[in-house]
């Protein structure tokens, strides 16, 4: 009842302190090796999964593949070497990004070619259209004229 202002603020401070205590604890650090494993695993496909990279899959195979990546990283292999290791075993199928050579070549050539050819076609189309004078409008049939008249009356 007769708590002084000082006591109250001390209480509040204590409460605040207890709440904030964990904040000052050293935050958990991410294992840099884990991060490296995940960064490589992102670009590899979990071959038994449905369109999922190794990094995101919980399948046993994905876990094994992450373990292999880890072991190879510890053994001092580079990212490229590890990728090659998996391609040698599973083929290009294991790469989330299709290769620019071999079977994946067309995938990378077609989109720019398509864009260029469509753009050229449209350019030609527009040029041709802008040169030709507008063709005379087709005369309306009797039936159509009647329809237009009816529609106009409806509008008024």
């Amino acid at each position: 009842m007769n708590r002084t202002w000082l006591q109250r603020s001390a209480c509040a401070c204590g409460l605040l302190f207890s709440l904030m205590l964990p904040v000052w604890a050293e935050p958990v650090k991410e294992d840099p090796l884990d991060r490296e494993v995940l960064e490589i695993a992102k670009d590899l496909r979990c071959t038994v999964c449905q369109n999922q990279p190794v990094a995101e899959s919980n399948a046993d195979l994905a876990k094994d593949m992450r373990q292999i990546i880890r072991e190879q990283l510890v053994a001092g292999k580079s990212r490229a070497e590890i990728m090659d290791y998996f391609v040698a075993r599973y083929g290009d199928y294991v790469l989330m990004k299709p290769p620019t050579a071999r079977a994946g070549l067309l995938l990378w050539i077609i989109p720019p070619l398509l864009l260029i050819s469509l753009a050229l076609l449209s350019w030609v189309f527009l040029k041709q259209r802008s040169r030709s004078s507008p063709p005379p409008a087709a005369a309306l049939s009797k039936q159509d004229q009647a329809r237009v008249r009816a529609a106009r009356q409806q509008q008024d």
Partner: protein, 669 residues
């Protein structure tokens, strides 16, 4: 639950109704043929009543199925494999589209709904062509009911009746998944209406002036539903799949994205035909393509030809049927198009290379290229495996590399095109109007480059284009308001702001849609380029820091809900003192673990927490924890809402479209 004999067999009434619907739809498809053959034009009118009957019968079938789900009638095979007595009621109803057979039924149901809407609308507005339109729709209904009743029948019974059902796929027990399929199908199937119009127009040589305004409306409606469906799908993936993202370029996602891209091209180029009497054949081509891609999407998802999380069915008979159906529809429709496509010769010429109509042509170049690239990436692995036996993966990195530049090109057009007037632009005036937005864009790009260096090249380019687009929309709007205020000096500012939009709903509705797309682009850029993530192992009491967010792990508790057990991790977002509760659920019936991410959202960023497996045992148990900080992700969902609002504004401009439809023939006479 004890069912009476009547209720137990009620599903047979639905089964019968579905067969009857097939028969009536066949009649609807043949009505105009019969009218011609017997020379009795009144026979064609059968189609209108038939379409109503087909819808009523399909609805009876659908309601009978829903009744079977709600009353736990596990003597129905489809109910037994997709429901469970402990499933919450909400999911029992939506379990109708939780599996293969029911999804197809929903497809057909939506198709009959659209057909009856066309019939009711057309009775007043286009009675003479209506039977042909309904006949085309009838053929599609017959095709789908054939597949449903003969190859994937949801009404089949199961004896002996199991004591309980095998439960709905736990991944689908999510509100996002309840609404995602109906929206998506309303979009997919919505493209059947313009398709039927285009077919009827080609067959009966119907002048486009009469139907273009109608299909514009139907196309916009379909586009709106498809947009909603796609965004809901992304939302579901983000909340339910637990990998911190929303779009994986999965073949099934691509299947819904292709019709969207072509549909987007179509809603733009239809305007050119309506306003300037151009691109008539091209529009019909786009209409057929959009619907073909909807069919292709259904084929890809339903035939099991692609294995992904969505493809629940693997049955070669169904695949062959859908493939055959799709091939027939494609061959016939493109055949008719090639034979008759140019029936309407009179097209106006282009007045200038720099005009609104040419801008729309460039829009179409961009969007058709985009659709073709998605198609290529989706089908290439299948084609390659069939031809050479090689297997490759075309994953998200490929699509990001190819599609992002295309989207940036679309943004550039979005910035310039709305300022370019119809027929012929004055380059001087255009330059002065573009000056401020361009400077704004350059400033934003440079600011991003300086603030976030080093970053991927797409970052500053996207920032520049986003500001450029926003700048043009706002300056364009401001100019219109200023002009109005000069003409009507007494009007209050607020009223002028409102009236400007309401006076030209088509234009400003479109601009609001563009602003929604811009919000989505902001969300995509933010979450795509600036995502932070950490994967750590934590014990209770420890804190993890991701970016400026600090998260304390308080522990784990487990409890049981209706039809699953859950392990809930408790995290406190320090500085805000907010709880974030990710879960790992286990559904005992399907023995399937699912993750529920714990998310704290603000306008600027989401903190997204996933709790993984425990490491160690007893008091020493630690937990794998994955924390993502996804900037600006809420802008994606918000942008979707803005775009839909804009679409609504556009669609309310009823009078204008009716007059526009008549304007051309009147001047021609």
């Amino acid at each position: 639950m004890v069912l009476s004999g009547f209720e137990f067999h009620l599903v047979e009434l639905g089964h019968f109704a579905a067969y009857l619907a097939l028969a009536v739809a066949l009649m609807q498809a043949l009505a105009p043929v019969a009218a011609r053959y017997f020379r009795r034009p009144e026979l064609a009118r059968i189609g209108i009543n038939a379409s109503i009957a087909v819808f009523v019968l399909t609805t009876i079938g659908g309601l009978a199925m829903i009744h079977a789900f709600v009353s736990d009638n596990f003597s129905v095979q489809y109910v037994a494999s997709n429901s469970n007595s402990k499933l919450p009621l909400f999911y029992k109803v939506s379990a109708l589209w939780g599996g293969h057979e029911g999804s197809l039924y929903l497809w057909a149901w939506v198709l009959t709904l659209y057909t009856v809407l066309v019939a009711l609308h057309g009775r007043k507005h286009y009675p003479d062509r209506l039977p042909t339109i309904l006949a085309v729709q009838g053929v599609l209904v017959v095709g789908f009911f054939g597949l449903i009743l003969f190859l994937s029948n949801p009404f089949l019974r199961l004896f002996p009746m199991p004591a309980d059902g095998r439960d709905l796929n736990p991944l689908l027990q999510d509100p996002g998944m309840v609404f995602h399929p109906p929206m998506l199908y309303l979009g997919y199937v919505g493209f059947s209406v313009p398709f039927a119009f285009a077919m009827a127009a080609l067959i009966t040589r119907w002048k486009s002036e009469y139907w273009i305004a109608h299909i514009r409306r139907w196309t916009l409606i379909a586009w709106g539903f498809l947009t909603t469906g796609i965004i809901l799908g992304g939302w579901w993936a983000y909340y339910e799949l637990g990998w911190g993202g929303y779009w994986a370029w999965d073949p099934v996602e691509n299947a819904s994205f292709m019709p969207w891209l072509v549909g987007t091209a179509l809603v733009h180029s239809i305007t050119v035909q309506e306003r300037r009497r151009m691109l008539h054949a091209w529009n019909i081509f786009l209409v057929i393509t959009a619907f073909s891609l909807s069919l292709l999407g259904t084929f890809l998802v339903r035939s099991g030809v692609l294995s992904s999380v969505h493809a629940f069915a693997v049955d070669p008979g169904r695949g062959a049927y859908i493939l055959a159906f799709m091939t027939i529809v494609l061959t016939v429709s493109f055949g008719i198009f090639l034979a008759r496509g140019r029936y309407q010769e009179a097209e106006e010429g282009m007045s200038s290379m720099l005009s609104r109509e040419s801008m729309f042509v460039w829009n179409n170049v961009v969007f058709t290229t985009a659709a073709a690239c998605v198609l290529l990436g989706t089908l290439y692995p299948l084609a390659l495996e069939t031809v050479s036996g090689d297997k490759i993966t075309v994953g998200a990195p490929y699509f990001n590399a190819v599609m992002v530049p295309i989207f940036l090109a679309a943004l550039l057009l979005m910035a310039v095109a709305p300022l370019v007037p119809w027929r012929k632009a004055n380059p001087e005036r255009l330059r002065s109007r573009l000056l401020i937005p361009v400077l704004l864009g350059l400033a934003a790009g440079v600011a991003m480059l300086v603030a976030a260096w080093p970053l991927h090249w797409t970052g500053p380019v996207a920032a520049a284009l986003i500001s450029f687009v926003t700048g043009t929309i706002i300056t364009d709007y401001a100019r219109a308001v200023r002009q109005r205020r000069v003409q009507l000096p007494g009007e209050s500012l607020l009223r002028a702001l409102m009236r400007t939009v309401l006076g030209n709903r088509r234009h400003y509705g479109g601009m609001i849609v563009h602003l929604g797309i811009i919000a989505i682009a902001i969300g995509l850029t933010g979450s795509g380029l600036f995502r932070l993530e950490k994967s750590v192992v934590m014990s209770p009491g420890e804190v993890v820091e991701v970016g400026s967010e600090r998260l304390r792990f308080d522990g784990v508790r487990s409890f049981q809900r209706d039809n699953y057990f859950t392990l809930q991790g408790q995290f406190t977002l320090l500085d805000r003192n907010i709880l974030v509760l990710p879960e790992r659920r286990r559904y005992p019936v399907q023995e399937m673990p699912t993750t529920e991410s714990g998310i704290h959202s603000t306008l600027w960023r989401d903190v997204y927490v996933v709790i993984a497996e425990p490491v160690g045992e007893g008091n020493q148990t630690k937990w794998g924890v994955h924390v993502y900080v996804n900037p600006l992700i809420q802008w994606i969902w918000g942008g979707g809402l803005i775009a839909l609002f804009g679409l609504g504004v556009t669609l309310t401009s009823r009078r204008r479209t009716a007059r526009d439809a008549l304007a051309v023939p009147v001047t021609a006479s």
